[in-house]
């Protein structure tokens, strides 16, 4: 997964990580506070105390993406991923911190920074529904200063790249969600930017289009672009990213290679078991599992509990499991050996920080 020669440093969120390699994107100590709630005109005029709560959407985040590097940004809903993307994209002004894109200070020279940035915001919004796909791209190409003599060619290439050539002259309002999302990707790529910010780029894509998307991103990496992807698709992140950053409640909880991330999981292998406990309450079964094994994600079904158990050797665990379960009046109805995945990483990082209910003994 990790490219040779790349030494992803486990530097967590302790700042000044901007390495002296060729950072195309360097974020340092960025924070964004939102005000939640309302302050009416009447309150303002009266000079009533401001009762809006401050939300730390992004908190002291430092992150760098190098030339030819793909970094995945993971984290639960509301962790601050989109906020960070918008800060880099010049759509949001951070409360503190600095952002540089291709050595341009984004805060001081947003207009200049936008020339280097290709941005795909979350969802399928952002294109003109009453125009065709081609007309949309022609418009955005001009907005991004693609020379007029090259617009036709670039639009053609971009459409081909996202496999929309056949629907290029259809109105976007007749596109499906995934088609609109692919058009959005083409829009972000139209001016061949050096830095790409993709916010949940595959959320609406079918598996084939998802694979196409990964092919495109690999092409971008080869071309030397720096790519930052916010995603909930952990398999995709594992497959695609040179490095990941896990954001949790606005802070970077982990930053490094996927392999390094996996060391955070207490075990090198995973045994997924589905356990049935007869008359026992599934909550009790889950609690018993948590107490006796190193567990990751636990799902309670109607009559059974499915859990990911971490271990060093699945065969050893499989050997001891039936006896242990039997003693507790439980029975494994399904077991499946597997390897630690980013799902486990995600779970162990975000759950531990939340002090959550499925804690594993360490």
């Amino acid at each position: 997964m990790t490219e040779p020669g790349r030494t992803g440093v486990l530097d967590g969120h302790q700042g000044s990580s901007a390495p002296h390699r060729e950072s195309m994107l360097a974020i340092e100590d960025v924070a964004k506070d939102y005000l939640r709630g309302r302050r009416t005109l009447v309150q303002r005029l009266r000079g009533a105390p401001d009762q809006r709560a401050v939300v730390h959407a992004v908190d002291e985040v430092s992150l760098a993406v190098d030339r030819g590097e793909v970094v995945g940004m993971l984290g639960p809903n509301g962790a601050g991923k989109s906020t960070l993307v918008k800060i880099i994209a010049t759509l949001l002004v951070p409360t503190r911190g600095s952002v540089r894109v291709c050595d341009v200070d984004v805060l001081a020279h947003p207009r200049q920074a936008r020339r280097h940035l290709g941005v795909m915001l979350a969802g399928d919004r952002g294109v003109y529904w009453k125009l065709t796909g081609r007309e949309n791209l022609e418009y955005f190409a001009a907005l991004h200063f693609v020379p007029s003599s090259q617009i036709r060619r670039r639009v053609g290439e971009a459409l081909e790249e996202v496999r929309l050539t056949g629907s290029a002259d259809e109105y976007v309002e007749r596109y499906s969600t995934g088609m609109r999302q692919r058009l959005n990707l083409a829009r972000a790529l139209i001016h061949e930017p050096e830095v790409l910010l993709l916010d949940e780029p595959t959320s609406g894509l079918d598996p084939v289009s998802g694979a196409e998307f990964r092919r495109i991103v690999r092409g971008l990496r080869q071309r030397g672009a720096a790519v930052l992807i916010a995603t909930h698709d952990l398999a995709e992140a594992e497959d695609l990213c040179d490095r990941i950053a896990v954001l949790d409640r606005g802070r970077i909880a982990f930053q490094g290679s996927v392999d390094e991330a996996k060391t955070l999981v207490p075990g090198s292998s995973v045994l997924t078991v589905e356990v049935e406990g007869g008359d026992q309450d599934t909550a009790e079964v889950a609690a018993w599992l948590s107490a006796h094994f190193r567990v990751g994600l636990v799902e309670r079904h109607e009559r059974s509990v499915r859990a990911r158990l971490y271990c060093e050797s699945t065969s050893d665990l499989m050997a001891e499991l039936p006896g242990k379960l039997h003693a507790a009046g439980l029975r494994a109805i399904r077991t499946e050996a597997g390897r630690v995945s980013l799902t486990d990483v995600f779970f162990s990082i975000t759950d531990r920080r939340a002090g959550g209910g499925h804690g594993h003994p360490q």
Partner: protein, 282 residues
Amino acid sequence: MGIRSDLHLHAWALVAAAKREWRVARRYPDVFIGAVAWPVVTPVVFVFQARASIGHGTPGRTGQTIPTDSVHLAVFLYLGWLVASWLALLLTESSASLSGQRVQGSLETTLLSPATRLTLLFGLAPVLLVTGALSYIAVLLALVMGFGAHIALSSALAGGLVILLAGPTLAAIAAAAGTTTLFMRRSGGLVDIARALSVTFCGFTAPLAIMPSWAAKIGRLLPPTWTVNALRNTMFGGPSKTDWTRLSLLLIGTFLAISALSLAAFAAGEQRGRRSGTLGGV
């Protein structure tokens, strides 16, 4: 680096924005149909009403008093309604375009680009100029064919020139209204107020001379008033009745001033949205 050396790139972006709005308008030509129907149909009842009520008014062959002659009365009112409906259309369409882009999310993606925000403010301007021209032609035809007005070709052409000169200024007013609407997050209220004020002060249905002097003073400061006055002067007295240099300078000057103000207002609104995170909101 700076905006000056990239001037041609910004200009192309502006052309692309105009092309985009033009394509939408061509696909939904109701804006053009409205531009023809509205100023032709609306004034009819006002013309008849005025005819019935005026009786012996001030005899007038100039643009500044209510003419008693029924053909002249029709010309007078039709020109007023021409500017009124054009302005109304400009204001609503500009606000609708910007608010629509915000809802659609394309405002946010447009703001991601390095191109000048004039693309958002003036993308619609060519469409609006065409609607103005169409309205003008429709009104002339209605006056000639419906009311038997005799309009000299030179007057008709000079009137067209007034439309052409006033277009950018009125489009700038519309852009200012659209910007305010956009960042105040209201869709209709402000535009309705602007429309109401223009009907009150700009002498569309009655000459400034019969208005209270304070209202007339305000009216004289407003570009739509200059436009309608120039049109009436030209139609009633011929092209020579208008001081073209003065009119052009006034209109171009206000066009530049209002454009600069709108751009500054847009920048301020954008900056505020970048702080509060509300640029992409619905």
